[in-house]
Symmetry: C2
Subunit: 257 residues, 2 copies
Amino acid sequence: MGLASNALLSRLSHFIRLSEGDARALRELMSAPESFAGHEDIAREGDRPHVAFVLLDGMACRYRMLLDGRRQILDLILPGDLCDARADLVRAADHSIGTMMATSIAPIPHGKLAAVRALHPRLDAALVWSAIEHEAMQRERMVALGRRTARGRVAYLLCELMWRQNCAGLSDGRTVALPLTQAEIADALGLTPVHVNRVLQEFRRGRLVASSRHRFALLDLERLQRIGEVSSDYLHLDGVPAEARRAIARAEASHKS
Amino acid sequence: MGLASNALLSRLSHFIRLSEGDARALRELMSAPESFAGHEDIAREGDRPHVAFVLLDGMACRYRMLLDGRRQILDLILPGDLCDARADLVRAADHSIGTMMATSIAPIPHGKLAAVRALHPRLDAALVWSAIEHEAMQRERMVALGRRTARGRVAYLLCELMWRQNCAGLSDGRTVALPLTQAEIADALGLTPVHVNRVLQEFRRGRLVASSRHRFALLDLERLQRIGEVSSDYLHLDGVPAEARRAIARAEASHKS
DNA sequence: CGATCTGTTGATATCCTTCAATTTTGGTGG
DNA sequence: CCACCAAAATTGAAGGATATCAACAGATCG
C-alpha cells in the first residue's frame, strides 16, 4: 500500500507540493486493500456506487457495452488513479469498471474523503486538479475517436500511457506496460482487433515500437507523437498558477487559525 | 438574466430542491453579462482561463483544431450550463470555446464561486452533480464516436439535445433548437458534412425528423432512441440518493450553527 | 441584389470491417 | 518438463460505410 499511495502522491506532486500532513491524511483514508483477478468487474453498470477507490496495483478500465455485444472502453485506470470521488451523488452507475489484469484497490468511504478534503485545502486542490487533468484526457480521447485514423489512435494510446505511467513514477520514459489484448486495445480505440493488429505490425516494421509480452518500447517517440498528433501539454503538468497557489495558502492559513 | 439563471436553476432542481437563499446566492454570483456574436471565440486554446461563466442565452461549444485544419467539437454548451468552474487551477486551456450563434454569458470570478460553494452545501452538491452529469454526457459521446454508425451518432445528438433543452426548461419535448450548420454537426460527430447531409435526408425521408430553419421536430423519438441506442438514464435525472441528502442536510446544519 | 455561405447531388476512392482460416502464445495439469 | 488446450495473434480475401472531390442549387445577409 505504501508503494501505491506513492503513485498517487507522485501524480499529485506534479501539480503542487504536498506536506507530510497531506500525505499522511491521504494514506489514512484508504481502507484495507481489496484484490481482483484479471477480467473481473469491480463495479457494474446499474449498480449503486458505494465507495471511491484508489487503484493500487494492476490496471482497470471503465467501459460500456452496446446492445450487440460490442464494447467501448472509456478510460484506462492506472495505479495512483482516484476513482468515483463524488459518485455518492449518483443512484446508478452508467458504466462498468473491470480489471485488465490482477488488480488491487484501496476503497475510500465517501464521507471520510469529504471530511479530509475539507480539512486539507492543498490536498483538495490537488485532487481537483487531478480531476481536471482527467477531463483533459477525456477530451483528447474524444478527438482521437472522432478525427484520427487508426494509426493516429494507436500512437495516441501508446503516448498517453507512457506519460501517465511516467507521472505516476511507473515507467522509465521509453517503455510502456500495456497488459491489453489487441481486442481490448480495439475496444479502447473504436477499432476492430484485426485492424489494431495490422497497425501494430506496421509500427513494428517501421521501427516505431518493439513489443514483447505486453510491454512496448517506444523506439521513435518523436514520430509517434507526430502520427498521434499529441503532446503532453494537455496533461497540465506545468503546475499550479501563482494566484491559485496564493488562494490555497490562504485557505490553509484560515484552517489553522 | 433572470430568465437564464432560471435555466441553471431548472437544471439543478432536477437533482435537488434548492432554497430561495441558494437561488439568490447563485444569482448574485453572476457579474454583468457579456455578449458575443455568432462564430466568435469566448476563450482560445492556450489562453490562461480567467473566469468561470454561465451561458445565459444562445449556444456555444468547446472544440479542438487539428493540424490539418479539421475540427472536433467536444461539447455543446447550452443556456444554464456552468463552465470552467475550476479552471483557475490551469495555466493554459487545452481547447477553445466558440459561439454557434449570438450568445451572452455571465462571468463568475473563481474566488467568489468558491466562497459561495463553501457557504451553501446544498448548492455545492448540486453543482458537483451537474459536473457528474456532464462527465456522463462525455462518456455517452465517446461511445457514439467510437462505436456508433453515422445514423446512430446523428440520432444520439438529436436526442441528447432534446433532453438537455428539456431539463433547462427550453423545449416542449418534441422539438429541438439546433442552430448548427451541417458542417458543425459533422465536427461534433466525427463525420464529414456531406455524410451528415445524407443521413439527415434519410431521416427526413423516413419521417424520423422534420426540420425548418435550425429547428428539428423529432417525429419518432422511439425509433430515434433505438437508432442512437440512447436512453436518458445517463443524465442521472432521478435525483439524489437518500444518504447523500442526509449528508448535505448535516453540512447545512453545521453551517448555520 | 450580388456575394458568400450552406445544403444537395453524383462519382469515385479508401480506410476499415467482416469473415474465415491458420499459427502462435501462454497457461495448466499430468 | 512436456503435452495439451484455449486464448490471442496473424493472415488473406472481399465487402461496406464513410470520405473525398467537384459541381451546382438554394438560402441568407449585408
